[in-house]
């Protein structure tokens, strides 16, 4: 039985324009699921509905077999971490973390022991007497984590917890959140708009768009096999072109790529495509390679820009099908702007989507 069940949740701020439309998701005990999508996709609405700050128009929220849908937020057994941390500025770190336990009327000794333990878990036991304003952003976020987890909630909700930190700290904090979450075995919903963050931290990722789920899956499958054009775009496929289907089998589909026939994995929400249907083809910059025009039988093109990225050089190549970004090992053969090249497709990692 799932630990957190969201069934057919619908929330509308404006009439006929639902922020969340029949959203359903099951999260297992101890699982970390990310809600990933651009702003306005409904991910924060989902989170705030689970927390009880938004009353849904329809649908149900069940945690550990208990119906939470109509429960006031202060009676829900939930830990919440905010993007802005939302620490209490007038209280010390210790008292911030102790707040939830005191609301639950825990005895003094229990409060002391559990707060001390929670602060040790996030490496801040030396900072117990500081005020939030005396801490760095990363430290403040650790206090927020300790404050939300010390009450041992059924479900932990994190709303873009890393957006206010700088890039390097974000990577550290992301690992720390994951480590803490796994140590505590706590069922977690994690809202983010950053696909790298979502993939690295999650057991499963839910990609959302306009209040609906586009795709749910393990990070690996979302990364490698997006099922919709939106997900492919959002998951960082650099290159995209439209092509006519020549033939389709169960696992392969052939399209014409500027005269070169290529076989692709495909996904369709509208059934098997007929000959001549439009397929949207996506591939990443590192899944194609360049060679000098004379010695290959790929798609011919011309280098119009190259940029150096350390281990790789990124080429922008103009072809009759479109412009493609292609990464090449910087130790290999180099091409100047204007060079005639041939593009070889490594099609096992390409994907065709029919919508």
């Amino acid at each position: 039985m799932p630990h957190l069940e969201i069934d057919d949740l619908t929330v509308s701020y404006e009439k006929d324009k639902p922020a969340l439309a029949r959203f359903s998701l099951d999260v297992g005990q101890g699982e970390l699921v990310s809600l990933l999508g651009p702003s306005g996709c409904g991910k924060t609405t989902t989170l705030r509905s689970v927390a009880g700050f938004i009353q849904p128009d329809a649908g149900r929220i069940v945690i550990d077999g208990r119906d939470y849908t109509r429960l006031p937020p202060n009676q829900r057994d939930i830990g919440l971490v905010f993007q802005s941390y939302a620490l209490f500025p007038h209280l010390t770190v210790f008292n911030n973390v102790a707040f939830g336990l005191r609301m639950r009327r825990a005895p003094r000794k229990v409060v002391h022991a559990r707060v001390t333990y929670a602060l040790r878990m996030v490496g801040l036991e030396a900072f117990a007497d500081r005020r939030p304003a005396q801490l760095s952003g990363g430290q403040q976020q650790r206090v927020a984590l300790a404050r939300a987890t010390v009450i041992e909630p059924q479900v932990l909700l994190l709303d873009e917890p890393l957006s206010n930190l700088d890039a390097r700290l974000r990577v550290d904090m992301r690992q720390e959140i994951r480590r803490l979450q796994q140590q505590l075995g706590i069922t977690t919903l994690y809202v983010t708009h950053d696909q790298v963050e979502a993939m690295s931290i999650s057991d499963r990722v839910v990609v959302m768009n306009e209040g609906k789920i586009e795709q749910i899956g393990a990070p690996e499958s979302i990364f490698a096999a997006p099922e919709t054009v939106f997900v492919a775009d959002f998951m960082g496929f650099d290159n995209h072109f439209s092509a006519a289907v020549e033939s389709a089998q169960a696992d392969k589909l052939t399209v014409n790529w500027g005269g070169v026939p290529i076989e692709l994995h495909w996904h369709s929400k509208v059934g098997a495509p007929h000959r001549g249907a439009r397929a949207e083809v996506f591939f990443r910059a590192d899944n194609a390679s360049l060679s000098a025009a004379a010695d290959a039988k790929g798609l011919s093109g011309q280098v119009i820009l190259h940029t150096f990225h350390g281990n790789e050089v990124r080429y922008l190549v103009e072809t009759e099908v479109g412009e493609f970004g292609i990464l090449q090992d910087s130790a290999g053969q180099r091409f100047e702007n204007g060079a005639e090249v041939s593009v070889q497709a490594q099609t096992q990692k390409w994907i065709a989507i029919i919508e």
Binding site: G52, F53, P73, R76, A86, L87, F88, H90
Partner: protein, 258 residues
């Protein structure tokens, strides 16, 4: 060069601002029977005279009572308004904010005259009551503004955080919002009290026989006498105000909201 010119103009500006006060300050210790500068001799008689003039002592107590009561009432009324204006965007909230600042924008004399007419229409009210209502009305927008400023500095999500940790809305407000409004409330209190204590135009219209505020009785004293008593009283008032503001600043750091 720029910094030198700025320095010179600052000195000139401040000598115009502070010069008159320095003259009053020195004159309050002078032995001349009329206000004069430079003063001759040294005496504290004029300070003693302030405390012996019942007109000043009585009106000081009235001003003090009036200042405290109207400030406290305007704070109590202003707090929920400020909270609502900062936390909720409702239709017409911009207009409400404008309406609440109106008493700051309307000239004091107009306010005083309008209130006088209004209270006359209402009929026989005690002078102290009309003064209290008038002052509360002047202070109310200051309370709303200063408390709003302190609330805007507080992350709106701290309340949600408190609620998610098990506090109900009221406890969340009392345990998390109110403590963080302290400095703003103190600032509004000091600003409100000083505004009430110094107000002339509204008090002038609403004062009545035997019930006069200190600044109004200073004005009427000046119509008949021109001795340094008034300078001594001014010196005392400046010291009183500076001590009040400094204490509030030391204790609560109120200057960030004014």
């Amino acid at each position: 060069m720029v910094s030198r010119w700025m320095y010179v103009s600052l000195v000139i500006l401040y000598s115009f601002l502070l010069g008159p006060f320095v003259i009053i300050f020195m004159a309050s210790f002078g032995a001349n029977a009329n206000l004069a500068f430079p003063p001759q001799g040294f005496t504290l008689d004029w300070f003693a005279n302030v405390f012996e003039t019942s007109q000043f002592v009585d009106s000081f107590w009235i001003s003090l009572q009036l200042g405290l009561s109207s400030t406290i009432v305007s704070l109590v009324m202003g707090m929920p308004v400020a909270y609502a204006l900062v936390r909720f965007q409702f239709s017409g909230s911009g207009m409400v904010e404008t309406v609440f600042s109106a008493p700051i924008l309307v000239p004091g004399l107009v306010m005083g005259f309008a209130m006088l007419n209004f209270f006359v229409l209402l009929g026989d009210m005690h002078v102290m009551t009309t003064l209290f209502i008038g002052h509360t009305a002047i202070l109310f927008p200051y309370s709303v503004r200063v408390i709003s400023a302190s609330l805007r500095n507080l992350d709106p999500y701290v309340e949600d955080a408190a609620v998610s940790l098990g506090a109900n809305r009221l406890r969340g407000f009392l345990l998390v919002v109110l403590p963080n409004m302290q400095a703003g409330i103190a600032a509004a209190f000091v600003l409100g009290f000083i505004t009430s204590f110094n107000n002339v135009p509204v008090s002038l219209f609403l004062s009545g026989p035997g019930v006069t505020t200190l600044p109004v009785s200073m004005l009427s004293y000046l119509e008949y006498y021109f001795d340094p008593t008034i300078a001594a009283l001014s010196t005392l008032l400046v010291i009183f105000t500076v001590v009040l503001v400094q204490t509030a600043e030391r204790l609560l750091g109120v200057s960030q909201f004014v």
